[in-house]
Amino acid sequence: MGYLQGFLVTLRQIKKLGGKHVTTEYSGGYERGRHDEKIAKPERLHGRHVLNKYEDGMEKCIGCELCAGVCPAKCIYVRGADNPPDDPVSPGERYGYVYEINYLRCIHCDLCVEACPTEAITESKLFEFSFTSRRDAIYGKSELVVGDDGKPKQLPWEDWREGDDADTSGWMRATSPAGDADFEGVLAWSGELGYGVRPPEPPQPEVDKAGGAPDPLLIEKTPEASGHTGGHH
């Protein structure tokens, strides 16, 4: 009867018969009154960019154009300018005068984040921004620079929920010069407005060492593994 066991396997997957769903009910945020559930995003998810500020409110970008140079999709356009002496935008000599990212081209590879010498450009974990015109696709400085509270600015077409904006992508901290192989090195990144100096990424979960990337379902099930995603250092 080995042939027929497969039928039981598929039957058991039905939720009413004890199976479970790996997808969640997700309406994109614009449906009112629907049960709508987002799953937790991975620590290093590459979302849309933000231009950070120092804790004193100065912009980090110095207009060096390294991000534009490294961008494989050629989606970044930067022009630097000298800081006005009486009202400097960034510490130092120059600042990013024009900063545009075309999200019709961006492939979210995060090479710009790795190239940036001042950690000015990082990525958030927001990926739900379905604009409806080419004009909207080009994010300029007014859209990219974080607000006075250090939080990314929400545009009308972006779907954010409570807590979605709290974390920039862990990718920056994982690849920053101080991050050693274990990601447990000395902190070498500067503070961000509104967040202070961020803790390093927690060690890789045990499941990861056992082989393979952690399965989100596994993390959900085993309590010791889920502790690692919380960032308890």
Binding site: G6, F7, T10, L11, Q13, T23, E25
Partner: protein
Amino acid sequence: VSGLFAQASATGDPLYQGDIDLAVVGITILKVVVCFAFLLIATMLMVWFERKVIAGMQNRIGPNKAGPFGILQTLADGIKSFFKEPIRPERADPVVFRLAPYLAFVPAFLIFTVIPVGGDFSNGNAGVVSIFGHDTYLQVADPPVGILFVLACSSIAVYGIMLAGWSSGSKYPLLGSVRASAQMVSYEAALGLSVATVLLVAGTLSTNGIVVAQDTMRNWNIVATGILPFVVFVIAATAELNRPPFDLVEAEQELVGGFNTEYSSIGFALFYLAEFMNTVTMSAVIVTLFLGGPQAPFGLDVPVIPGWLQGMIWFFLKLFLFLFMYVWFRATLPRFRYDQLMDLGWKVMIPVAFGWFLFLTTLRVTRDLDWSRMGQLSAGIAAIAVAIAGYAILMIALRVSTRQRQQQGSLH
């Protein structure tokens, strides 16, 4: 073979026995419209049901946005595809290209017209109900050739698929349609042979007659013919429908979309609908042939509900069982390889169906000739022996031809 066709009185629908007046025409039109509407709605729900169940079996939620539980998803898809631009490839044959979807679509409707979907079959009744004072069956037509009509229509559906692939003027559809015609023709033989056992037992071709003959559960053809023809029929029907695991016709990984690759808009929607409609009608045929159609199991007779409605309820419960089975097949079984498909069809299904037919025929004929029980038994054993001997000869022939091809170097 006297008495073999004794039951085949071939009276047909009592509606047309008397004078044909306006009411009779009205009832006929009403039945046609209800049948048409029912089949469209059933297809719509079938698509939704299949997507929902298969999603459940794949740990997903499935369509749930359009309407309650996503039940209007098919409607949304249909409206969308009807508003798309129909594109015809430059090298396609214009007339045949347009005709093909209808050739696939219309037979699905036609088959359903001869299916008794309800009627009062309790206590040996013949499924007659009374509409506006006229006695009639709850089926659009009850031709004396009933089951032959079903077989003929399901063969016409092959043309729809074959012509679609041929007229597209494109190579993947052509490959898909070549596969389709080979597959459907192969399995039609097994299908026909298993139907023949049912006809042998029922003694009539009329669908109503077949249902009437299955008056108790012992007489349900799944029991009366031995379970084997039922199994053969279900497998062959799955192949006829081009449903998984026999969906080589539209094997996405190999043939893009198979025969309907070049179709868009209404043409594609019709093929898509026809596929699911055929699933519904073929399930209905299985229920009619093997599970007693609207006959109640265990002779149940629920008091309050009128007889014709009971029949309908039983019919749809059984129908639902097979629809679920088809979805379950699709979620579970991987696709056959082409040579496996042909091997199964020609070397297993047809010999098995044919051998079983031989066996049942022997039993029937000896019984009709009033042979003794011992005589019947020995004739049956002789039939089995003949079948096994035939199968052995077939296997030997296959082995010899394989060896010859190996020697010629065309097979490794």
